[in-house]
Amino acid sequence: MALTALIGFNVLSSIAALILLSIGLGVIFGMMKIINLAHGEFLMLGAYATVLSTNAGLNLFVAMLVVAPVFVGLVGLIVERGIIRFLYGRMIDTMLATWGLSLGLVGIITTIFGTTVKGVAAPLGGFSIGPYQTSTYSLFMIAMAIIVVAGIWAMLRFTRFGLIVRATMQNPAMAAALGVSPPRIYMATFVLGAALTGLAGGVLVPVSGVSPTMGAAYIARAFITVIGGGAAMVTGSSLAATLFGFIDQVVTFKTTPVFGQVALLISAVIMIRVLPQGITGRFFRRSL
């Protein structure tokens, strides 16, 4: 019983990690159709911002919840103004540009900080479920995932800015005719996506090894989740993360990590075959 509870908790924390990882990509790719191959490097920058400011004496939570998103948001602003804004509507070109950007960012960080792994110890300690120990920090990650998803959903659903963003994504010409400036909305959305990715990078620091190439380990899962989720970014990514996180954890627990990864990829392939538009292409079509 306690073991089932422990596995259930692991599944939840795995889902939370997937949601945090993919939500920023969901905003940039799902809403704006920009294939941001530098997503993993945005994560990495968020992680470095957190590690460096913590080492400089800042409180860890301030570092991950404030410094990381603000810093990566600023990087996103520079990237959008300098590169992406010239490439809207040219999907293949954005892939090339962001791929180059990701290589550049890895190179810059390696040059400055070297390839040694950095990190911060997990705060909050552990708690026990029956005879088993687990990490309180996972609880924090689950809470963060819920807050982030609820926050974005509420912003899109209830605020004027959310309405304008949705309108611009659906029909930029009509939005422009009604007095909205689509380039500014695109810019704001890109920065928001980058900041969310930076936040995820910061939150992952205590449970991962921070190195310049860390993004590569996450980017595939982030893309699978967002594509599996489909057009309605918030609902879709959350549902896809739930499905994939569950499969990954349960199969890994029952067999080995190798089969866990294989099962995740096979289920993604099957799902894209059955639901080419993602989960929200068939179900919950009117959700956000």
């Binding site: 390696t110 390839t115 792994v117 950095k118 990190g119 990490s135 190439t213 954890q249």
Partner: protein, 412 residues
Amino acid sequence: MSLQRRQLLKTGTAALASGLAAPYIANAAAAEPIKVGSLLDLSGPIGTSGQPMFDAIQLAVGEVNAAGGLLGRPLQLINYNTQSTIQLYSQYAQQLALRDRVAVVHGGITSASREAIRPTFDRYRILYFYNVLYEGGVCDRDTFCTGTTPAQTVNKLVPYALKNWGKKVYILAADYNYGQITAKWMAKYAREGGGTVQAVEFFPLDVTSFSATISKIQEAKPDVILSALVGSNHTAFYRQWAAAGMKSKIPIASTTFGLVNELATINPSESNGIVTSYGYYQELKTPKSVAFVDAIHKKFGADVPYISELAAATYEGFYLWVAGVKQANSVDRVAVTKALETGLSFDGPSGKVTIDHATHHVIRNAYLGKADNKTWDVIASYPDQPPSDTAAVCNLIKAPNTNKQYVIDVKA
């Protein structure tokens, strides 16, 4: 006998050429440097391992030159940065052999890189030193392996864990040849010591989440975790292990942890108490070790990363070659090999290091270290450990023409 025109031309030119060249060679020989090749990754994922090794070989070359060179000739170090790319290893190995025509090559870090360049140096008759701890089994008369192998380290680590912590072990290893082979050695030594292996789990190098494994470990309730996890993603295991509050419950022994600066970058609360076994720790207080660490700090700054077995074995491997050249009074490959095979030794930072003729590996000291507030507390030392794993399959005295890496059949 009629003197042919063509023959006359040949003999004449040769005579002329040697007549002209002779004084030039005689003059140049005094000053002509001995070229020493080095192939190390100084950038990319393995760059952190290569940098201390490069520091060590630069230090050694500098010392020999400062002492008047070798056989009266200065040494010239030719290093190529292989950038953690196997293709560059093959390419630069050919350059060293054919264009630079070096007398010896020290280098290679991963087992994959070694196996990429070893055939090249065999083919072009270049003496090759591989100065890294690895899984054992290379049997090649043109190659010397100066790092530790599992019989020297794993064979100390596992009995220590069984004796001090308990008999039930749980093995975690990286999913490629090093991890697979090391896991077999761990299982073998655990069973020999009367222990039971509850599970062996392999992790691809891009695995970052260990929560399922940590649950499984808790369910199995082992006494000891043996880890051969590799790379930056896998350091997440130590983090998540500590975050789950497991660190004080089940101790960890590792064959890989701390070899590349992990102690400096991971929080003491996550690393304290982890036990490892290597051929060298920079905390060793022998005069040679202290002098070695001081020399590196003086030359490259006190903030260089941790000086591990990688640097020490490179330094010692280089000096073993120097000893061979001195004894042979030549840099000729065969002469130096024969000199080394007489069982030459060098007193290095890790202690006495002696060439073993039969395997072309080394007899060297092994140590156990326990992590304590970002340093290694050396808790045991085992002098003069032979490479008995490789010796079980390789005998270059009986079969000097062997040229392969045996996959040692580990009977678990």
